[in-house]
Amino acid sequence: MKNRLRVLRAERGWSQAELAERLRVSRQTVNAIETGRYDPSLPLAFAIARVFGSTIETIFDPESSADS
């Protein structure tokens, strides 16, 4: 599943480690989500949306695959 995590993070000037700290996950989890190798659980997706002050559907695009 594609997402705008990297773009949103870059807009705020956060590193992966900083975002990971805000989400209380490891840096590699943020990296895996950004690269589309891992789709987060619903609670984590809500946490991501909350951190960016956005909604899940504006960050994640269920219609597309990260590989495509």
């Binding site: 996950v25 490891s26 840096r27 989890t29 990296n31 895996a32 190798r37 891992y38 984590l44």
Partner: protein
Amino acid sequence: MFSRLPSERISRIGVVDFVGAAATLVAGTLLLRRAGLFSNYLERTYYFYLLLAGFIALFTSGWLVFRIVRRGEYPWVFGLAAIALPLFQPSVAPYTVRFRVVVAIRDLALIATAVLFVTRSISRADELERRVHVQAVSWSYTAIVLALVSYAMFEDVLPPLHATWVASALLASWMVAWAYESARYQR
């Protein structure tokens, strides 16, 4: 100074500590075993130096393990346990009640501490790391079960299998599968 590898649960300094801890654990155990088994036949001074070297090696190993644990790099504990288990063979120890009790207490204390540390670490892990563990355990247990069934087919012609070897193989394969699965989610 030491950058992190794909998984932050394993750092480069952790590799050095792990190799050092494993080497000193093996050396210390073998030195003390030699001192214990041949205590009646060895020269007094040589016996003393064997004991001293063995305890220094084990102390160094313990100190390196402490550094690993302090950094929270718990996957190395799987590797160390896999190396330590074949060394901890109570049946190899001299058959005296006192010695067996000492060995049993040492093994139980070490295993309980390791299990507590690993379970606490995994319970604090995030969702991806837990998922990686589930995948790693499923791969490693499947591989070991297949290996055991294959062994069972030729059991009568193959050398006997020690229980500690099986436990060691389970832990080692878990660690290898964990490292592989962790790397799969990184780029």
